[in-house]
Symmetry: D3
Subunit: 339 residues, 6 copies
């Protein structure tokens, strides 16, 4: 397969404005400025691990575009399919984030309506794009935006699939975008195209009405649809600042389940984006090594390490992730640094 990109993602790029840790939106006079958005996180993280990635999105043609493009390039995501919105009311979606500290929960305010991605149109992208990547990924957030974005996403899925591209999809259910029924109805439309499916146990139960063990649930998706791989993260919240994290992956091809010991007592600095980091690691492992065990290990390691930094995505490289995996397989963890 001679395609330019390993992964192309589609989704909304958001400006994330968060309070300093321990601060509140109602107080203070500074905000931290980051980029976010599930599919951007994933493209950036896979790019940092060394695969070639690009992202399809639509952003306003203003000063913030330079911020977005610089960051994408910094993490090796091609801006070739970034569409510039020159309309008068073009805007970048924003979300405001306030860190929690038990018993005060983290809180998020979304201001993403009317953003440029909602005007995206299939004519905005070149036909060549559809046979230019090994894998296409999007999520339930993009579908949940509804309207043009949903329509565009579904069309992309079909067109990429026609070109023999692997289709990856993460349900990523957000109650503030749509109801469970809306989500189910829409996602069931695209499941026939999906090869790699990310769905948490809770969502499988609540949104798709699944029952039984997680293993049964995963298998049932592959029985209903021509899905090859189902991955489900498993998070245990010990305290808001200590989580355990692992996942289970089911491969339909060899009818096997993949598991490993959880990363226990993860220091949670910033939990946002850890699910996306999981997807990025899993897709990297799957594409690079064609091995669900590698998908599992990279997925868990990326998710675990993501918790340790502020912002939606981790800045890392393959060497670091490999050493985290090696350490994890070895003895759990070691506190001390090498010097």
């Amino acid at each position: 397969m001679d395609r330019k990109y390993d992964v192309i993602t589609l989704g909304e790029i958001l400006l994330r404005l968060s309070t300093p840790i321990n601060g509140r939106l109602a107080q203070g006079d500074t905000l931290m400025k980051h980029l976010g958005g599930a599919e951007l996180n994933i493209a950036s993280e896979i790019g940092q691990l060394g695969l070639k990635t690009a992202m399809i999105s639509k952003i306003p043609n203003n000063l913030l575009a330079a911020f977005i493009k610089n960051q994408m390039n910094a993490s090796r995501v091609s801006e070739n399919y970034l569409i510039s919105d020159t309309a008068d009311d073009s805007r970048i979606g924003v979300y405001y984030y306030e860190y929690g500290s038990y018993p005060r929960k983290p809180r998020v305010v979304y201001d993403r309506k009317h953003s440029s991605i909602n005007n995206i149109d299939i004519k905005d992208v070149p036909e060549t794009m559809f046979y230019n990547t090994r894998l296409f990924h999007t999520s339930g957030i993009t579908l949940g935006l509804g309207g043009n974005a949903q329509k565009f996403a579904i069309e992309c899925i079909r067109k990429f699939k026609e070109q023999g591209t692997l289709i990856s999809f993460d349900v990523n259910y957000r109650a503030n975008l749509w109801t469970g029924e809306e989500a189910r109805a829409c996602i069931e439309q695209i499941l026939p195209y999906v090869d790699i499916f990310f769905c948490s146990e809770d969502t499988a139960r609540l949104t798709f009405g699944k029952t039984g063990t997680i293993e049964e649930i995963q298998k049932s998706f592959c029985e209903e649809y021509p899905i090859s791989v189902v991955a489900s993260t498993e998070r245990t919240v010990i305290t808001p600042k200590k989580h355990n994290f692992t996942s289970i992956i089911y491969s339909a091809k060899n009818d096997s389940y993949y598991r490993e010991e959880p990363y226990n007592n993860i220091d949670v600095v910033d939990r946002i984006g850890s699910g996306d980091a999981y997807v990025s690691g899993a897709l990297y492992g799957y594409l690079k090594h064609k091995d669900c065990r590698k998908a599992l290990e990279y997925g868990n390691a990326m998710a675990a390490i993501k918790h340790s930094v502020i912002g939606d995505m981790i800045t890392t490289d393959l060497e670091e992730i490999d050493s985290i995996i090696a350490e994890h397989k070895n003895t759990g963890y070691h506190s001390e640094m090498n010097r």
Copy 2:
């Protein structure tokens, strides 16, 4: 006159997100968080000088509402007429600001479309409001928003006028909101209701097609419309970080012009909002002392001091402004502090 408020303003409240001084939007990881909006600035500053003020606006019912209300209360602006927008797509308008440094200009990105004020409706406010203040103020920015906001503003002007309320209006022309012709057509509709009119010489010429000296221009407005007072600021930009500032006020009643020596060599830290500070000082002087000379002095002093702080509005009090006026009338300026 026994009214609860001295001044009620109407306008949009904006979240202002600015880079650190010398920073760029395309770089860095922090933004400064302030509130802005011409009519909020004015209500806050008049409130700080000791008159009773309130503001009519519509804001989303989210975590940022607490930030807005706390700040309004801190500067003694009543939140009684602040309307809470509980709609799903409610949002606060945002503007991003990057400071300039010659030859790099300051730059601003507005993201105010679809904000909550655009859904404002005359039924959102109680009828009692209209006879509850001595003066009502709004600006060409509010009219320039068009749609419901414009309609609401015009209705407010009529209803306040009916109750014998003084009407104050600042043209505040913004090319990114509407064309000069649109502005002129709309503003000429409301000029018959206006008592105190703020209009710069440039705008008078470019938008209203006025000719002649500034004195002739000011007088002509009072001849065409039943305007009592016309105030025009006069700014000289020596360098982007050094301005001179003064103003000229015409009183139709006694057919007199009021002037004073400019504040020269103002240290420009942040120029945004200095025009609003002028309006606030002028309205304070006019309402408190019923004297255009006082309007001039307070207006110029408030405008001058505004340049010295970061953010849309100054934090000050009457005692400080009085001492600045005294100093200014005395000898220009004195560099040293009292100790």
Copy 3:
């Protein structure tokens, strides 16, 4: 009862100067600037929950007065009974605070002697004040200042009581202000006036010589004095950064005890002011709902959430506290945010 305020508190307003977290007073070049003082914290927090509050205090007539007044207004505390000290040696009390980190303890340096409140005089306040509130609150800190402040506080208690005002008192024993015997002697003078009494188990034993269970102790206060309600907080320090917190309230009227499950594993960002937050929640619950169970729930929730922010007082609103209470009654806690 038609009184303007729900709560008036009396106490000293302090400028709190704290190091950055992990910093030391002996190092570094910045300090964080907050306001503090038990009774200010309480008035602010009750004000934020929606009741009308004012505070009696005396502050110097200098630039810091604006800081104080802005913050009071921001949290809806009336400055009507704030007395301006124009004396030459007027000053605001200061305390310096350094965060601890085991085994390094938090440390505090008080510099509150000779502050303006020590010159407070009953003639500084209008007679009308005494029949203008439903409840008056002060604490053992104010009495412990001694001299004029103590005399003023005792006089206030008497005068408010004469007007049928509820009297609330928090022992808040501070060894650096007075000895246990001095405290006991003084407080026993005012207990005959007190309706709502806050006293921890330790203080009851050490200062008042009480014995028996906490339930017996609480009841004994109501037997000796015409106290209606006794509230005692119960804190377990697991580590300096993890506390459990709950309380027990005794109502003499129906001879009942109120308790609930503790908030466990509270993330302690800043422990200062959590006792005051308890008082504010308890008084809010009591006044708003006339129900000791509500006093308990609001008290515990306010105390618990206070630990999560830097500074003497929390910035919050009723909606947030209600959701924390609901969450707490439900399942302990949930780590994830709503989105």
Copy 4:
């Protein structure tokens, strides 16, 4: 002369709490923490230039003492004569400082009453101290504190003089400490002991009633009193952020005046302490080189460079000052760095 110190100063050590530049005391949540006090500035700066210095002062025995002592040691000022105040109401004087920006003036709030130095007593210091230095310096600020501090200062002057120590005195008139008449009466008491006298032209005229040219004024002091050297700074304020600075020194011994070209267009970052820096440079030049020309050059250079940093005192060393002097004598100034 075999004395341990070159210079011992006497004065109050103040904690300086300043807003960030462009910030206001009424806003924001951080303050910068520095030490200040004229005589500390002088001892520190002379210490940095390489002479041995110590300072007599009295400070509270609390956590801030470590901050003070660390800073003194960092600038090579001996803490041998620093007296620890263990009294209950011991306190360090504080001053709050807000930077100005035309037309907003810098503002200062002093909170120095009741500070530990006001309890200083001659018994606090060892008799050996009086023959242990070549020069003793204090200022009109210490005398202006009145009470014990004034009494102590006058006694020190007498005792040091008895031991053949040079006495240096800077009038440093502060209207917020005493009236001009009080200052004159007190200072005239100690002038018979003074060898090196710092007095600005304005103060000479206003406080001492001098007339004539600055040269005549300087000479007249030496005619009335056995003063050897009189130094007067000359500052021209072009704008609050641009000053010119030079000085004139009169030597009675050879009846000569010393002058040099002013440092023109000094970038004023922080003007506080530039007068003290002048004294430190002048005393250094005088003691090290026994030459009034050197006193002039070091004084002017130290004053000029002080304006360039935040805080009461400059951090520098002899090499830097020598290069500034060389540059200044050469061509005025050069913008570029050496690389």
Copy 5:
């Protein structure tokens, strides 16, 4: 010409550690972290203007490599020719920078000896590189490093030239790297290969012993060597914080001189790198438009705007530079922003 890159530069990448503005290296506890190095600045800035660039350098294989690569990618510089130094003593050169404020000069401490670039070897780069770009640029700094770096640079010049690549060279004389004579001897070796030559008037006189007017000097270089274009910047330092800047370019081909009005009263935030920004603009203009007038305009505009930001290089884009040029040709400058 079908080459992959428009510009390849060769030079050392430095970690720049600067104090906060107004801070000193001897004080404080933070440093700002940037990348620097003349040839990196140039590649980054040309990359931002839209041409394809790469940089040849050698950097240590440690955590800082990720910082360097992310930044290069962010500004669109290919890391393809970045050589990783895995030696034990590999290191990145560092320079410490302290901002000046008259009369305190900016100061710089270089710690670049033994850095990885000093081990660079012609075998580190592929032969294909030499016919893969339209233009190769390096500077006297790289030659001044001596040893392997110098040898490598000279070899690169020869090899690129052999492939018909344009050779650009900026003298950029640094006295702390070599003497004028050493510089002259070495540079005269490579001048026969140079097409575009950057040399200031001062350097031409002091290092190359040129006399006559700047026009005569520029022409003489083209007469002695087969140089096509000579560009010389002209800077006037009004104060350290106000500079004027322009340049003069001589084209040998049409024997013409190009000049324009200086950018006057530039606000100097950070002067470092403005010379490199000039080179980047000039090379961009020359390569894109094949026009020395464009080289002049882009060079001057890039240099002027560079002064306005902190760090070695500007973050910008073509649209901004075009608008600065348009503004400059129009009326000098305009203080106000567009809104």
Copy 6:
């Protein structure tokens, strides 16, 4: 014994550049600036506890020298034996530090090759130095630098020993400096001179091939060499942010072991330097009280408290450490502050 210093240490002074907590070297634009180096940490901390200390090192003669000297003086370490390196390629060693957060490990990048200490020569120091202290301390880091530094260190040990000075040595094995065999061979050369030996159990086993219990290991060192005291720290890492810490000391003289309860659940803010803090406390206790129990208690307390602050060394004083010891012996720990 009449010697000027209690302790002289020898080692490299490093500039420590660390990310903000939770930050990464590959991101962000600030670094924290501290000094580090095992032997500097020890001299500073013993100096703060009240003994007289000096340090032998060699540092470049540039702007950073002032930073180093100011900090040394601030913590009462004499700079008398600090050697100034005026060579062209003089440099201060640097280390970059990134905090970890499980599962992301802390990471360190050393850049200490070619630093000034590597040119140190016995002729740089005066002969008088060798009989001017009670105790000399250095570590395996200094020996591991190899070359001149190693040679100098061994010579110092011999010369100090000749003068009857106590020799203290901490193995402090660093794999990035030398191999275990190199370390063993070198250290065995100097063990015959050592009086006080610091060696962890792990190092004893891995580097020196010891077997048996820690007690047996400690004793065996004293049997093989004329060592008086062996101290070994014992650290248990619960999580990277929670450690337990204690130590065991063996005194050959009275053939006794000293132990105490560990400090449990230490809040680990910054673990770097805690081993050095142990050495400083142990040496202080030993020198001041001539008692291994005191060495143990001060060592453990200093190590424990070091974890609570950012940077290589703690800022503290004897009073604080004494209160930590008292608290520790009493009841483990107490969360609350004294007020």
